[in-house]
């Protein structure tokens, strides 16, 4: 997998829903204020709610377009950001562990986020949202596959530890079946 991959377009719905919640709460407040005949306040909260809703509806499209990830032989590259653009290179051998997370809205759409941890401190974790469950699980297996390619004697010596004789796509660690990931 060396080409740039986009996120699943359905992630936009997750983002839109997330952004609409505060707008909806504010709309309710506006309603309450209007019923209570408070002067001026409903206009302000209403305007803010509208602005939030407009941004919430408009931004996810651009955000989705800005997002991509690319897995090369040596690293995972992710790119995102609408205003501030960020491009991150995560060397495969630096990955400590990988979490698979799914919120309720994501789960209902069959999406997952992959959280990738390095030993770095300032930017130790990277989240790739909006992956279809099967893609997320495959990506996780792929990211962790280097672990099984480690040559134990070299590891003990503290030297370079990737054994080139073992294929890159070595047997992935047991990740369980997709369905039992989220039983808890």
């Amino acid at each position: 997998m060396t080409e740039r991959q986009m996120l699943d377009p359905r992630i936009r719905w997750v983002w839109i829903t997330g952004a609409m919640i505060p707008a909806a709460v504010l709309a309710l407040v506006t309603l309450g204020l209007a019923i209570g005949r408070v002067p001026l306040a409903p206009a302000i909260t209403g305007a803010v709610a509208l602005a939030l809703a407009a941004i919430g509806a408009g931004l996810p499209g651009a955000r989705w377009k800005s997002w991509s990830y690319q897995l090369t032989e040596t690293e995972l590259i992710i790119r995102f950001g609408v205003v501030f653009k960020v491009e991150r290179w995560l060397p495969r051998t630096r990955i400590q562990h990988v979490d698979l997370i799914g919120g309720p809205i994501e789960r209902s759409l069959g999406l997952r986020q992959l959280v990738i941890y390095t030993a770095g401190t300032r930017e130790a974790d990277v989240t790739v949202p909006g992956l279809p469950e099967t893609v997320a699980i495959a990506l996780r297996a792929d990211l962790l596959s280097w672990v099984s390619a480690i040559d134990p004697p070299a590891m003990a010596a503290g030297g370079i530890a990737i054994d080139p004789s073992k294929p890159e796509s070595a047997p992935a660690p047991d990740i369980g079946s997709p369905s039992d990931q989220f039983l808890e």
Partner: protein, 491 residues
């Protein structure tokens, strides 16, 4: 060989030193003195006053009692190549940290415990969240024994440990005076002092009479010269404080290398000594505040994995409070194995950085002057000063930024007043990031950040590189890190 072999006696559960029972509550009581006094002095009616003080006293008693109970319950020991800590009053918590996970062990002796022969032991682990394990206080003998046992256990692969001990840094008191005198802190204090002085004079502060009676010269002084005098006095006081602080903190600074460990001790009143395994060190940094640069000196700081304390005032991470420029490369080579020279032939970033720096620094003053000139037409003339000053600053900033990236290392320098040079071995890199703000993108610029397993208190980054250059460096560095790195080995 296991840690248990070296630590006869340490594998029995130990409690904290009994005198801690006295010191712990004392320390807490000190924190409570102010609220107690305030409560007593604020309370108007007798009854309420008493009640307030009573409640506070009760709260204090409960906290002190709880703490005392915690101190009594705490137990520590070494067993099965792990450091164990048992704590808790009702809910007992057992922590076991494998010795190879221990990043470094610091012994801290604040002056009062020091008089009583007590030491605080800080054990740093690699975990980012859990932080340090602190034993305050244990007897000096126990502390030293524990530290030796832990240090031996984590470097037990070295057979001839008794042989090699090299002194890397020993700082004389005279040098520490220079360090204090050239710290930027003095400059910062001068600014604060100036602000205080000017407010005092605006508030109609009159110099005390007795000074006036000293001589007729004093009578000739105008309020403005009094202000200048007071500012000068405060600056001098600030400066002396900075010198005294540095000397107290780093008195007798000594850094030695024993096999794979760095040992460091310093401090006049509060004595501090620590051990950092060399392999844990992620980055080194050379700091040169303006004044220090002028006298040809620098300080050297190292960041080690998991060392949360590197940012704090305890001085963890300082490898040399001050040393001559000439001695710096050798120390750097000894602590992270990078050969100097480091700061020669650094590449500049994009010259467009000047434009961005200028726009950044000038925008707010320009807006303020524009608004102010509506009310005071003369305000616009301030721009005559601000614009050249802004341009000068932008140029100085551009000139201060320099970098050098090759297969083995990253050197990144920045800072107009305090010039900092980061040194990162390529195999310590955890990930690379290229960021660009809208303003940077407009000029085709970006910032390259380099993440290591260090605490990241001072991020290694190269600001305003050409976007394409930044991207290619990020790619190459990530690839290098991927090839050289094995998770954990570099940490």
């Amino acid at each position: 060989m296991t840690s248990a072999d070296h630590s006869q006696g340490l594998n029995e559960p130990h409690r904290l030193h009994p005198l801690t029972l006295l010191l712990g509550p004392l320390r807490m009581a000190r924190a409570w003195v102010v609220p107690l006094v305030i409560a007593i002095s604020l309370g108007r009616g007798d009854g309420r006053q008493l009640a307030g003080a009573g409640i506070l006293a009760l709260a204090l008693a409960v906290t002190v009692g709880r703490q005392a109970l915690e101190l009594v319950r705490l137990k520590w020991w070494l067993a099965d190549d792990a450091f164990h800590l048992q704590s808790g009053i009702l809910q007992i918590e057992n922590k076991a940290v494998p010795v190879e996970r221990i990043q470094n062990v610091d012994l801290v002796e604040p002056w009062l415990p020091r008089l009583l022969g007590l030491v605080e032991v800080r054990i740093e682990t690699a975990g980012a969240g859990e932080g340090n394990l602190v034993l305050s206080y244990v007897s000096r003998a126990d502390a030293t024994q524990l530290r030796e046992a832990l240090a031996r256990a984590s470097t037990e692969a070295t057979p001839d440990r008794a042989t090699a001990q090299t002194q890397l840094v020993k700082t004389s008191t005279r040098e520490l005076f220079i360090a204090g005198a050239t710290a930027n802190r003095a400059g910062a204090l001068a600014v604060v002092a100036g602000a205080v002085a000017s407010t005092l004079f605006e508030a109609g502060f009159e110099p005390p009479d007795f000074i006036g009676s000293i001589g007729s010269i004093a009578d000739l002084l105008t309020p403005a010269s009094w202000a200048a005098l007071l500012i000068a006095l405060l600056v001098v006081v600030g400066w002396l404080t900075s010198i005294a602080g540095t000397v107290l903190r780093f008195y007798g600074f000594e850094l030695t290398q024993t096999n794979g460990d760095l040992r460091r001790q310093h401090g006049l009143l509060s004595r501090s000594s620590g051990v950092v395994p060399l392999v844990r060190i992620q980055t080194a940094r050379i700091d040169r505040p303006l004044l220090r640069r002028l006298v040809g000196r620098a300080s050297v700081v190292a960041e080690s994995a998991g060392s949360v304390a590197a940012s704090t005032d305890s001085g963890t991470g300082v490898m040399a409070p001050i040393m001559t420029d000439r001695d710096v490369p050798l120390l750097i080579e000894q602590i992270i194995g990078m050969k100097g020279p480091f700061e020669e032939h650094l590449s500049p970033v994009s010259p467009k950085a000047i434009r961005r720096g200028f726009i950044r620094v000038i925008t707010i003053p320009a807006i303020l002057a524009g608004v102010a000139s509506f009310f005071f037409p003369l305000a616009a003339t301030a721009l005559l000063v601000v614009v050249p000053l802004g341009y000068w600053w932008a140029r100085a900033r551009y000139k201060s930024i320099g970098y050098n990236i090759d297969d083995l290392r990253v050197v990144a320098r920045a800072g107009v007043l305090t010039r900092r040079t980061w040194l990162v071995p390529a195999h310590k890199i955890q990930s690379t990031v290229v960021r660009s703000s809208p303003f940077q993108r407009r000029l085709g610029l970006a910032t390259l950040s380099i993440d290591t397993a260090g605490p990241g208190t001072s991020r290694v980054r190269i600001i305003d590189l050409d976007l394409r250059t930044a991207t290619s460096h990020a790619t190459v560095l990530a690839r290098l890190s991927s090839e050289t790195g094995l998770v954990g080995a570099g940490v």
